[in-house]
């Protein structure tokens, strides 16, 4: 590409990041949560990439002093995914801990996961927020409901 200042400007570099999704993913993987959310607004491609949970998985445990317990991935996915974990629980937790200067020193993983689980439960309707709705989906194979005893006051 020539560099003639007097002439008309040449077309820009032929390299477009959107043609190299793997590089794009590598870059996006390293962003922090807020920037990632902004990146999701750039274009359709970036939006669909940022919805991949694996990006958020990377983000979630970046600052933890010790590695998260093994077997955590299926649990997190079952409870709603890494993106939700980050947005709902981790981000507020990290913000709060940063305020006290504890962000990189305290192992908040277990507590954050527990809070995420409570949130998932409440979304299932378990918190009493949706009283009056019909009961949850029919019992699964692992659920064995025993008979319930009803006791009134003994006169």
């Amino acid at each position: 590409m020539e560099d003639n200042r007097g002439k008309k400007k040449l077309p820009g570099p032929k390299f477009c990041i959107n043609d190299h999704v793997d590089i794009l993913v590598e870059i996006l993987k390293r962003l922090d949560g807020d920037t990632l959310a902004v990146a999701a607004c750039v274009c359709q491609l970036w939006h669909s990439i940022t919805r991949h949970d694996s990006l958020w998985e990377n983000l979630c445990f970046r600052h933890v002093p010790s590695p998260p317990p093994s077997g955590i991935k299926p649990v997190v996915l079952a409870l709603g995914g890494y993106k939700r974990l980050y947005m709902l629980c981790l981000r507020p937790v990290l913000n709060r801990l940063s305020r006290f200067g504890l962000r990189d020193r305290v192992d908040h993983v277990q507590l954050t996961l527990s809070l995420f689980c409570v949130d998932c439960y409440e979304r299932l309707g378990g918190g009493g927020g949706k009283l009056g709705e019909s009961s949850a989906s029919s019992s699964s194979s692992s659920l064995i409901l025993q008979q319930i005893f009803v006791l009134g006051p003994i006169q």
């Binding site: 317990p69 077997g71 955590i72 299926p74 649990v75 079952a78 409870l79 507020p92 937790v93 709060r96 801990l97 006290f100 504890l102 305290v106 908040h108 277990q110 507590l111 996961l113 527990s114 809070l115 995420f116 689980c117 409570v118 998932c120 439960y121 409440e122 299932l124 309707g125 378990g126 918190g127 009493g128 927020g129 009283l131 009961s135 949850a136 989906s137 019992s139 699964s140 692992s142 659920l143 064995i144 409901l145 025993q146 319930i148 005893f149 009803v150 006791l151 009134g152 006051p153 003994i154």
Partner: protein, 473 residues
């Protein structure tokens, strides 16, 4: 302000049970925050001082007050502070009159206090608490005992409880601390059984399910038996809660079995209903339930002994007990009133600090219900018989239980929970292996863990020993 308080005390000297200057300081500290928030100092200097409450509640001591005031202080703030302190004194006097049986005087004092209440900010601080206590005194005086405590349905109770859970950290602290103790006690067991004395919405259990799912070595089979009151309208709330917990457990691959036991009183539950197997580790979880059993029926004794003995018979690995840290079970009305006034003022303060939330007003109604029960009800109707940790320790030790120390993990988790959820001012303390959560060094809720002391070797063991001996020989 110290002088002013002394002047007031000269008038009310025959009914003062506390050093008035102490009460003044306490109310002072509560009002100072209110004043600094609501009346920025720059606006104050233009207001002339004048004494506005002479005509309403007039008597000579008001003139004495004038001499002791600084003229730069604003009339409205002084008015509110004085009214606040006066309200507290009047509440105490009224309670004493109530105990003495001077009901007509009580009625007229209630009216006076309601007038005084109009001069105070009832949206926070002393005004709000005083409002609830004046209301409770009125109910005790004018309502029949059966309706004094406000009959809330099971459904309403659950909603109020849920709002209390969301609005302030006490129940969350209780759940997470108890779960930590249960998790540690279940270490190494493949078959575990949790018995929850008050299931409500089962909000405590998702966190335990998740922690068991991620346990090194894999999750055990978890059985949960939830005890709760029967729902009157035919809905099976226990079963619904069980279904949701099961769905959650299934999604994280924890084998889960739920059983509901509907009982309106804990002492009606029999151990065979719980179907405890000898091979499983049992945990008993009581969040603010044991104090309801403390009524001593002259004919039948107290339910607490019945319940504690069947707890022992189940041979649990751990019993988690969370109770309010207050002495609201004293026989004299005035003592209960005073203790409740301090306790609930502190609690309302802490609720204020949690900021504006939609759950706050219903949470306050939940607290107000407790206040009414403590002050208005007697006999078997009074179920909020809170006792402090020291009394529970004695009671449980005498019934054959020994304390289990809540480890440092529980403490760290509780501290972290507080930094996440709450305002400055909450504090977690460790006391002889138990954890308390309080507001500004006044503990409000205490969590402890216990184990049954094994009995002395009885005759039932002897045949086993004999057969072992015979095998050896």
């Amino acid at each position: 302000m110290g002088n002013a308080s002394n002047e007031i005390s000269q008038v009310a000297s025959d009914v003062v049970h506390y050093n008035p200057s102490d009460l003044g300081n306490w109310v002072d500290s509560m009002l100072t925050e209110l004043i600094h928030q609501q009346f920025p100092p720059s606006d104050l200097q233009d207001f002339p001082y004048h004494d506005t409450w002479t005509d309403q509640i007039g008597s000579q001591q008001n003139q004495n007050l004038n001499h002791n005031q600084q003229l730069t202080v604003v009339s409205t703030t002084m008015d509110e502070e004085d009214s606040g302190i006066r309200l507290v004194h009047m509440l105490m006097s009224c309670a004493e009159l109530m105990q003495r049986g001077d009901f007509s005087l009580v009625a007229s004092m209630i009216q006076e206090m309601q007038v005084l209440l109009t001069r105070v900010n009832t949206r926070c601080g002393i005004g709000k608490v005083a409002g609830y206590f004046i209301d409770a005194l009125g109910r005790r005086l004018f309502s029949p005992i059966s309706t004094a405590c406000g009959g809330y349905s099971v459904l309403e109770n659950e909603i109020l409880y849920h709002n209390f859970y969301e609005a302030c950290p006490y129940l969350k602290f209780a759940h997470f601390t108890a779960n930590q103790a249960i998790l540690e006690a279940f270490d190494g067991y493949d078959c575990v059984h949790v018995i929850d004395f008050n299931l409500m919405h089962g909000l405590q259990w998702p966190a335990l399910i998740q922690a068991l799912a991620l346990r090194p070595g894999g999750p055990p089979l978890l059985r949960l038996t939830g005890i709760g009151p029967p729902s009157p309208d035919g809905r099976d709330t226990l079963r619904e809660v069980g279904l949701r917990l099961a769905e959650l457990a299934r999604s994280v691959n924890v084998r889960f079995v739920f059983r509901g036991v509907a009982a309106s009183r804990l002492e009606d539950v029999k151990t065979w209903m719980l179907q405890v197997s000898s091979k499983e580790a049992v945990a008993i979880n009581s969040i603010m339930q044991l104090h309801k059993l403390l009524y001593m029926d002259p004919g039948r004794g107290s339910a607490i002994d019945t319940v504690l003995s069947w707890i022992r018979s189940l041979n649990p690995r751990i019993i988690t007990v969370v109770e309010q840290e207050a002495d609201h079970n004293q026989p004299e009305f005035l003592d209960r009133f005073t203790e409740a006034l301090y306790y609930y003022s502190t609690m309302f303060d802490s609720l204020e600090a949690c900021g504006l939330r939609p759950e706050k007003s219903l949470a306050e109604i939940h607290i107000q219900r407790e206040i009414c029960n403590i002050l208005c009800c007697e006999g078997s109707g009074r179920i909020e018989r809170h006792e402090p940790l020291v009394k529970w320790r004695t009671r449980l030790s005498e019934s054959g239980f020994k304390p289990v120390h809540l480890g440092s993990n529980a403490f760290k988790q509780a501290s972290m929970l507080l930094t996440l959820f709450s305002a400055e001012g909450y504090c977690v303390e460790e006391r002889e292996g138990c954890l308390t959560l309080g507001w500004h060094s006044r503990p409000l809720i205490a969590a402890s863990a216990w184990q049954a002391v094994p009995d002395e070797p009885t005759s039932s063991l002897a045949p086993m020993l004999n057969s072992q001996n015979s095998n050896v020989m």
